[in-house]
């Protein structure tokens, strides 16, 4: 009984404590940032397929679209009256199956967005940043850092259309869907 480790057989109140606890959701991003700042890992670059979208939106904002209020509203330089119809959200998701040179994609997005804006059908558009938090109930905890991957939401367009079918047609013509990416169309509920 004089052995230094003779207590190890005795029960401890700590036996009841869980060995693992869910860390704060934001901690992962902070750890990654610290490692990156010290050059200890290679940060994942933003999804390449989003670069043309970002560049196109920047171009649209400078040339065709004007910021108004808190959002980036679609107003043409020679403002087009908003088209009749309801609002539909086009969610740009997933990596497109095909790729094109960035310059070509930027031009394609710009042409598509400008045309919508000229018709008064583009009510808003934004590219989303990579980072974020996913809130979802589950056994692993209530929240987790956003994992950027093929299924990630990359941006959105808010368009005006007379019907869901017309919104679908707009979505089908979106450069992202033409290249095999996923675009979800959801009507905005005006309630």
């Amino acid at each position: 009984m004089s052995d230094l480790d003779d207590e190890r057989g005795a029960p401890s109140p700590l036996d009841l404590l869980p060995r693992e606890l869910p860390p704060p959701p934001a901690l992962e991003a902070r750890v990654v940032a610290r490692l990156a700042a010290r050059g200890l890992l290679t940060r994942r670059r933003a999804a390449r397929w989003l670069a043309p979208l970002a560049a196109a939106l920047a171009g649209l904002a400078g040339g065709w679209l004007l910021r108004s209020g808190g959002g980036r509203l679609a107003e043409t330089a020679a403002p087009a009256a908003p088209a009749a119809g309801a609002l539909y959200l086009l969610l740009i998701e997933g990596e497109p199956a095909e790729t094109r040179p960035v310059a070509e994609m930027v031009a394609t997005y710009k042409a598509w967005g400008s045309e919508l804006a000229a018709r008064g059908q583009l009510a808003g558009a934004e590219k989303l940043k990579d980072e974020g938090i996913v809130l979802a109930a589950g056994p692993g905890g209530p929240a987790s850092p956003l994992e950027v991957g093929p299924a990630t939401l990359g941006g959105y367009f808010l368009v005006r259309a007379g019907s869901l079918a017309e919104a679908e047609a707009i979505a089908r013509d979106c450069p992202h869907s033409r290249l095999g990416g996923r675009v979800t169309v959801r009507p905005v509920d005006p309630v």
Binding site: L4, S12, L14, L21, P22, E28, V32, R34, L41
Partner: protein
């Protein structure tokens, strides 16, 4: 009596392959996989070492991961990755307390807790609270011994104290825990 808390590694350590994958690429995604596999245990340890102070625990975990990744190519797999990581965490924690006389903050040892002090009536929150209120040095010894399964010799080496000191701190820590839990459960007020 059969040891109840030692945590020998049995079977392959799942973190080991994640370590190898990260070292091969140094890629953020590979690190995130490793982080998610190892951090729940690391976080529990850090939070308890820090006495329940989440801000301190977060800083400990961040610094621990930074140091671990710096020397990850030296991880040979002789021990479980969680234990290796825990050792780095303790070093970070020691440094954070170096100037705070954590070594001298002990309660004097007294009567030992009664054998088999039943922890059942105490809720986990009571336990966490009682643990958080222990002096830093006692809490560290109790965690390393009862949760991490380290011997007094290993604890002494890790904390820079004599093995006998580790034993006396464990004794004091268990006594304080039992007293606080008894008070919480059935004591006055």
């Amino acid at each position: 009596m059969k040891p109840t808390r030692a945590v020998p590694v049995s079977g392959p350590d799942p973190a080991r392959s994640l370590v190898g994958r990260f070292l091969a690429t140094r890629d953020e995604r590979a690190f995130r996989d490793l982080y998610r596999a190892a951090t729940p245990r690391l976080w529990a340890f850090a939070l308890r070492l820090a006495g329940g102070r989440a801000g301190e625990a977060e800083e400990l975990v961040q610094e621990c991961w930074a140091r671990a990744v710096e020397r990850l190519d030296r991880f040979r797999g002789d021990s479980a990755f969680a234990s290796w990581l825990g050792g780095i965490l303790v070093n970070c924690w020691r440094e954070s307390w170096r100037e705070l006389r954590w070594i001298a903050d002990e309660e004097p040892p007294g009567e030992p807790p009664s054998p088999g002090t039943p922890p059942d009536p105490a809720s986990r929150l009571d336990l966490e609270s009682a643990l958080a209120r222990l002096p830093e040095g006692s809490r560290a010894v109790l965690l390393l011994h009862d949760v991490e399964g380290m011997t007094h010799a290993e604890i002494g080496d890790r904390l820079g104290i004599a093995a006998g000191t580790s034993k006396s701190r464990l004794f004091a820590a268990r006594r304080a825990m039992a007293r606080r839990l008894d008070t919480k459960i059935g004591g006055p007020g």
